[in-house]
């Protein structure tokens, strides 16, 4: 048994680790034999913040070595690959042929299987939807030995996209990549002083800008921030800056570096510096979209107690009031971090029964784990999300109450018909009871 923790470093549990490396053997490897009561769970690159990728006391089927491409058609942009391939490896391969993933989250250090199981979203949700919208085919292995091939329109597909790994082990997938002229983006930065200005900017930008996202100063209490928007650009002459130097947080500091002393001056400086740089620029997509991927182990800076991420989405009607109330609660608590993101989702409904993205506005913040005061703040935020008819992102959660999960995900009962009884996680035990 080996201790494993997730990206938030909150708690680590003992797991029996099993490597999946041969996609032809997965169904046999995970099959339950006789009276085997131990459950398993597939784990990709363990970048989920909370407990969706943990199964303490049980098995973790690690997919890191199941990372092969199967076929790529450079004419159509269709890619078949194993579930353990990192999004980074796909993009580095496909860019040379003029293709990229249509949708990625703020890190490309996650696996294809993890991206599907959590139906991740990106800054371009209002244009291209979520990751699952670009999956053409899935192969799923079940602990009863069955192998299921499914595609959009099939209930197995709708249950598995966003299904938190609970319907089976995703073995391989076929993805539709997206034509790009190159790696460059034209970007624009606009400071905003309050939530009225944010929503006006979001509404005005959605038609003309593919990527929109904003950083919000969670301690200012007035909802000031920086609105970032970008579009792909055909700029053939620039040489891609290869070999950027990666930095690393080399050890876990004894206390969180994100605290009351550091946060307020950081936010002030960040806002003022970027307000000075407002306007247009050219950026490489890797630097623009994944700014933290070059700071290895950045999760260590929250100290030995780890951190939570709290990401909610609330419907657009009433969304501004709900976001304002959440920001006030956060300011009053004096907690929060500089990784604070506010963004509007587009009108598109997700393909997955349990997918997080839905039309509305999403707020995401990291919180150093300070124990009881942090959990008390979350209870106040939960109440606001619940009253607004919103939901919390399971891939980033480690503590939401069961009633909020049930009210936030109305297709839960339908989803449960597709669960694999041999698969379990800390999260499923906490929110579903098994």
């Amino acid at each position: 048994m080996v201790k494993v923790s997730s990206w938030g470093r909150l708690a680590s549990g003992e797991h029996e680790l099993v490597a999946l490396s041969d996609r032809g053997r997965v169904a046999r490897q995970i099959a339950r034999r006789g009276a085997d009561a131990v459950t398993g769970l597939a784990q990709g690159n363990a970048r989920s913040y909370g407990d969706v990728c943990l199964n303490p006391g049980g098995r973790l089927w690690r997919t890191a070595a199941m990372d092969r491409f199967i076929a790529f058609d450079a004419a159509s942009g269709r890619l078949r690959c194993e579930a353990g391939v990192l999004l980074r490896d796909i993009q580095r391969m496909s860019l040379a042929h003029g293709w990229l993933l249509p949708v990625t989250p703020g890190t490309q250090m996650i696996t294809v299987g993890g991206a599907i199981a959590n139906d991740v979203h990106g800054k371009n949700h209002h244009v291209l939807g979520a990751f699952g919208d670009h999956v053409l085919h899935l192969r799923l292995a079940r602990t009863d030995g069955a192998v299921i091939d499914c595609a959009p329109g099939d209930p197995w597909f709708a249950a598995t996209v966003g299904g938190m790994g609970l319907t089976g082990v995703i073995v391989e997938a076929e993805l539709q990549l997206r034509r790009v002229a190159g790696p460059w983006l034209v970007t624009d930065t606009v400071p905003y002083r309050n939530l009225d200005e944010f929503f006006a900017l979001a509404d005005a930008s959605e038609a003309g800008w593919e990527h929109t996202v904003s950083w919000i100063d969670c301690l200012s209490g007035i909802g000031r921030g920086l609105f970032f928007r970008a579009n792909p650009a055909a700029i053939p002459d620039l040489q891609a800056q290869a070999g950027r130097r990666a930095n690393s947080v080399p050890f876990v500091p004894p206390v969180s570096l994100v605290n009351g002393l550091s946060l307020r001056p950081f936010n002030e400086t960040y806002f003022r510096l970027n307000a000075l740089k407002a306007g247009h620029a050219i950026a490489h997509f890797e630097q623009y979209t994944y700014p933290l991927d070059n700071l290895h182990h950045w999760n260590r800076m929250y100290g030995p107690r780890g951190f939570y991420q709290y990401q909610s989405v609330v419907p657009r009607a009433g969304g501004q009031a709900a976001v304002g109330a959440m920001l006030e609660a956060i300011k009053a608590s004096g907690q929060g971090s500089f990784l604070a993101v506010l963004k509007t989702f587009g009108a598109r409904e997700s393909v997955g029964m349990m997918s997080f993205p839905r039309p509305g506005v999403t707020l995401a913040l990291d919180f150093p784990n300070r124990g009881a005061p942090t959990l008390r703040l979350f209870e106040r935020l939960d109440a606001i999300v619940r009253a607004a008819g919103g939901r919390i992102y399971a891939a980033k959660d480690a503590r939401m109450p069961r009633d909020l999960f049930e009210s936030g995900y109305p297709r839960l009962a339908e989803f449960l018909q597709y669960r694999d009884p041999g698969i379990s996680s800390s999260m499923s035990r906490r929110l579903i009871g098994s």
Binding site: V2, L17, V18, S21, G24, R68, F69, I70, A71, M93
Partner: protein, 250 residues
């Protein structure tokens, strides 16, 4: 341009370290790769991946019986008939359970064969062909071959055989004027499916071990520790007096 082409043969190409070396090689220009392994279906999967990663590379596969000297000879002859390799990587092996080897001589025998005898026979078969024309033969040994330890001495003994063999072959070639280089790689504990059940702290990423192997092979270094810190650690371990060493539980 044909003479500029690198012809690389990988024995044990489905091993994780070998597969990552191959990924680095297919990123280069004009590479012809021959993947040799025991399981044709798994070889095909590795080949398909490499063809996507390196569309300019020519990737072929061959299966062979790794425990039969005649099969090893026939494989080397057949590969050479298609074109003399510029680089051969011998990468197969498996980490046996030491306790099981102590109880079960068949398991011990198989562990010695697959980790020691078989790699040596492959190297010998290719060295015979390549001695006259030059090139590089890279053999993956292990830090476990540097000193026998209670936790894995059957595996260590097999890798010790590989170490002595590589030294001897280097000695033979040094006196012959041959342009054939022999590189012995000694990886420390590496994060691969073979070690996936162990705590991952302290395991080297397989990508960085592969990078050291590919760079060390190009440079023709006689011995490559991967990562390099193991050269120092193993120097200390080799020189510990037995009275001290025998008290250590390693």
């Amino acid at each position: 341009m044909q003479d500029l082409q690198q012809r690389i043969v990988i024995i044990g190409a489905t091993s994780s370290i070998a597969e990552h070396c191959a990924r680095l090689w297919v990123a280069g220009r004009g590479v012809a790769l021959t993947l040799v392994g025991r399981d044709a279906a798994r070889l095909e999967r590795v080949a398909a991946d490499l063809r996507v990663r390196g569309p300019g590379a020519a990737v072929t596969v061959r299966s062979a019986d790794f425990s039969d000297p005649r099969s090893i000879r026939a494989l080397a002859d057949a590969v050479v008939r298609e074109g003399m390799p510029t680089q051969v990587l011998i990468a197969h092996g498996s980490l046996p359970d030491q306790q099981q080897c102590q109880r079960d001589l068949e398991a011990a025998s198989e562990a010695l064969d697959v980790n020691g005898v078989s790699p040596v026979l492959f190297a010998e078969a290719f060295a015979g062909h390549m001695e006259a024309v030059g090139g590089t033969i890279t053999i993956i040994g292990s830090v476990a071959g540097d000193r026998g330890r209670r936790s894995n001495y059957v595996y260590g003994a097999a890798k010790g055989l590989v170490t002595r063999y590589a030294q001897g072959l280097q000695h033979r070639l040094a006196g012959s004027g041959s342009r054939l280089k022999v590189v012995l790689v000694k990886p420390g504990p590496t994060a691969t499916p073979m070690t996936a059940h162990l705590p991952q702290r302290g395991l080297a990423p397989v990508e960085s071990v592969a990078r050291l192997i590919v760079d060390g092979s190009r440079a023709g270094k006689p011995v490559v520790y991967a990562p390099g810190k193991w050269a120092l650690i193993m120097m200390v371990i080799r020189h510990l007096p037995a009275v001290v060493f025998n008290k250590m539980n390693i």
